[in-house]
Symmetry: C2
Subunit: 282 residues, 2 copies
Amino acid sequence: MTAGTIADAAPTVEPGRSVTAKVLAMLAAFTAEEPELTLSQLARRARLSLPTAHRRAAELVEWGALERDARGRYRIGLRLWEVASLAPRGVGLRDAAMPFLEDLYEVTHENVQLAVREGAEIVYVERIAGLHAVPVWTRVGGRFAMHATGVGLVLLAHAPASVQQEVLGLPLRRFTDRTVTDPKALRRILADIRRLGYAVSDGQVTLDALSVAAPIFDPDGEVVAAVSLVVRADGAQPAALAPLVQTAARGITRASRVTAAGRPVMRSPPRPVPAQRPGSAR
Amino acid sequence: MTAGTIADAAPTVEPGRSVTAKVLAMLAAFTAEEPELTLSQLARRARLSLPTAHRRAAELVEWGALERDARGRYRIGLRLWEVASLAPRGVGLRDAAMPFLEDLYEVTHENVQLAVREGAEIVYVERIAGLHAVPVWTRVGGRFAMHATGVGLVLLAHAPASVQQEVLGLPLRRFTDRTVTDPKALRRILADIRRLGYAVSDGQVTLDALSVAAPIFDPDGEVVAAVSLVVRADGAQPAALAPLVQTAARGITRASRVTAAGRPVMRSPPRPVPAQRPGSAR
DNA sequence: GCAGCGTTTTCACTGGATGGAAGGGTTCTC
DNA sequence: GAGAACCCTTCCATCCAGTGAAAACGCTGC
């Protein structure tokens, strides 16, 4: 198959990729920076030929996984968002946590964040950002490194050994001159976090921000998520904030225990329509 | 599995369905009531043979669109949730609206809801439910009929004529004896909503709840979403609440105008890792 | 009018996707 | 603790859905 040299001039398409993989690659082509793409962009990013991208995109649009705007550009569709809302680690967790996050926000008017671990990074599941609170770089659905933030440190401290090795093995990115990048020092910090039950990240992402985070457990006692409060660094008293955050974390642990065990999260709403999708009609 | 009757006998598989459609059918198999499924359930609901479901599911798990829990059951994965977070009508809208929803909640401590139209139904994009507020049946990512709720009425009032005809053409479900089910009457109500700039649904879904909703516009002046405040029906003064909701709606309109036009929603976060997914490695 | 894009359709070919069957595992029931 | 009832996984020959090149089409700006 390989004509001529290695990886010769854009061999159009690598064969052997399944249709499923191609479709998923198309979805992965969208980013927060460019949430709308033309067909050509989509094809290039997913490494597909134009006709193929065109056909798959048409199917995705028909189902609702993608939408087209007035200019014909593609974007992620609401239907996909609906389905994704069923992700237990996403919205499920979020719903259980929300009242507690609200409380935390209302009491402090600072940034409140909820995150889970995905591989060797964290993903923000929810955040409440006060307009007057210290600015943070997070976005719901966004990823971040584990070694610098409060939630990241909590999740790293309770991650499987293999994940810890992976993170500590690679060079740790320095965001500010307070970022801990020495694996030895970081291991000590992680031990402290396990011992104390909360983490503090002081100026490790931006110098003006300090975050205090605490772990959320699942019914088996595994750490599945973390909450944090991000405040202005000067004058902040981590030890005073910790109980607040820990209490919220305990509350969320308790709440998600219920939702996870007892099936019905709420009375099932009256189905307005037999939920028959146009596509599934006979 | 009712053996014997019609429909059973599982005619194995209807051919001609594309791989993409099958994969999407698998995603659509998950519901809020059953967010975790065994492979067999998945195969049945998506009308696929077991081996096929098994193979597709394996690919979806590898990519992160699905996850498997300890018992081997499948559920929607966080990676899909991440991608879906890029849906402009989902999280994009939500992020722009959140501060205003927060304000609305903090002032009233009642239920705050944000919804968009999808076909002939509404989809809730965000909701803030006070623990002490009147109970409501909504769920983020959940659907509902348009003709009874505040947000539904606003979105229906500003929907294309074809959608209005579709909704008004079918029998309108009665949730309570205050639900308006007469097309004529509903048309008059929709006209009032367009004239006044807000909608009131008084006891039309549950007798104890009243909601006041207002429209959110896109830069072209189209109504793309609606906000509502749901309060206890007895003693509520819709006319007094309307300005509050309308102000929030105006604020969201203004905020989403900015995010839609000016590309950068926020300073792009420092990319912790080149965002290289395991699957895309060389 | 022309050039430069991006989109859509057509067509013959081919290899990934397919389901039946069979093997192996786990969790209930009696 | 034997049996039943599911559920999951792998194998293999068949075949049709998916494929890219090429060309037609549509739009926008100059």
